[in-house]
């Protein structure tokens, strides 16, 4: 049992790393605003699927790594991701019952909250913009969600992570 858990941990870690890499891969200028919030999506999935293992603490650590990768002020992503993880911990029982399109709607709201929090805090530290384009990733994330959900669920079942 304990061996299985450790292996599962590695798989979860791997999906987070892939999410981080996807969030860093260079994109053409036109698409730069439309990048899905990969790391947040992966985090939401694992919190929803395994709330007893992935929670606020893991979200905080992941947020710190995000801050280091993005070069933002240390703690910005950590705070917004902690809040998202908390919201999912509150909502996960309902989210599991939702059909996929309804989950996507919720993802739109959750990633939107994440973007908004991050944008506010970034505004405090100096970088601002008056356009609402920073909310675009929320919409794209909602479109990507059903596929990502099915993919990660298959991964979870394949490796029997529980």
């Amino acid at each position: 049992m304990s061996e299985e858990r450790a292996g599962g941990g590695l798989i979860i870690f791997g999906t987070f790393i892939i999410g981080l890499v996807l969030s860093q891969i260079p994109m053409p200028d036109m698409l730069i605003w439309a990048r899905p919030a990969w790391v947040v999506l992966v985090l939401i999935y694992w919190v929803m699927a395994l709330p007893h293992r992935i929670g606020v603490g893991s979200a905080f650590l992941l947020g710190l790594v995000m801050d280091l990768v993005r070069g933002s002020v240390l703690g910005l992503n950590a705070l917004s991701m902690t809040i998202i993880a908390f919201l999912v911990l509150v909502l996960y029982k309902r989210m599991r019952m939702f059909p996929l399109w309804q989950q996507s709607g919720l993802i739109l709201v959750l990633v939107g909250i994440n973007q908004l929090l991050f944008h506010w805090m970034q505004g405090i530290t100096g970088t601002t913009s008056d356009s609402l384009l920073f909310l675009l990733p929320a919409a794209v994330s909602a479109l990507v969600w059903p596929w990502l959900f099915l993919l990660l669920r298959n991964v979870r079942r394949l490796f029997r992570i529980a």
Binding site: S23, Q24, D29, V69, R70, G71, T128
Partner: protein
């Protein structure tokens, strides 16, 4: 602390590096021949310019001696490679493959073949972050090459656009003027091209003229960058003085 994510940055850069290598391997003979030809003519032309350069430099030194002005020193330059771009559209930053272990320092100017790119803003052991001159937080002291008019060029957070701040209505700035670094402020060395004035809007209702410029460096395309200057050794001098 960002040492932790250095492997991740390498991993992100891996596909584009592999693609570069692949396109280096899979190149046709005719392309190589024509490239060779083109580079040869280019080298010839550059050599011709350098020939003149030597005599001009000697002349410059003589004139400076006459004026009793300080000598202009040639800054040492190091070639570095870009390994990452900040995905956040609000921050115009790139990541280069040299860090504090390679004696890069905070505030070091970065150029590409076209002109000034930006400056180093944060260091890790093996990588460092470069803030481009178009970032909303960036400002760079410039002068108009034609007449020496000084101004400060601000980044606006829009790629490919700079704005000159507080230019009076009577200032002689025209479209097409070359802006070069003025060397004031002590961060960027003097005389490197920064941008070309693209638009001058004189609105009688405004206090200042709106001057927009295009950066002459290829901010979003260059992969090979140049780090200029050596680590300033200000701290070591007082130590020597103290020991004497």
């Amino acid at each position: 602390m960002s040492l932790v994510v250095t492997p991740l940055q390498w991993l992100v850069d891996l596909p584009s590096r592999a693609a570069d290598n692949l396109s280096g391997v899979l190149v046709s003979r005719t392309t190589l021949l024509s490239d060779n030809e083109r580079l040869r003519t280019e080298a010839l032309q550059l050599e011709r310019k350098v020939q003149q350069n030597a005599s001009l430099m000697a002349e410059n030194i003589r004139l400076r001696e006459l004026l009793d002005a300080g000598q202009r020193v040639d800054e040492p330059v190091r070639l570095v490679e870009l390994i990452g771009v900040n995905p956040d559209p609000f921050q115009h930053e790139v990541i280069i493959n040299h860090g504090s272990e390679d004696s890069v320092y905070d505030g070091q100017p970065v150029l590409d073949a076209g002109g000034v790119m930006g400056q180093v803003v944060s260091l890790s052991h093996y990588t460092s972050r470069v803030m481009l001159i178009t970032d909303a937080r960036a400002a760079i002291p410039v002068e108009v090459n034609r007449n020496g008019f000084r101004a400060i060029a601000l980044g606006k957070g829009v790629l490919g656009e700079l704005e000159l701040e507080h230019v009076p209505d009577t200032a002689d700035v025209r479209e097409g003027d070359l802006l070069v670094t003025s060397g004031l402020g002590g961060r960027f060395p003097r005389g490197y091209p920064v941008g070309i004035v693209g638009e001058v809007v004189r609105d009688p209702g405004q206090q200042f003229v709106q001057v927009r410029a295009r950066p002459s460096a290829r901010l979003d395309k260059s992969r090979h960058l140049l780090l200029v200057g050596n680590k300033p050794q200000v701290k070591e001098i007082p130590a020597e003085v103290a020991s004497e």
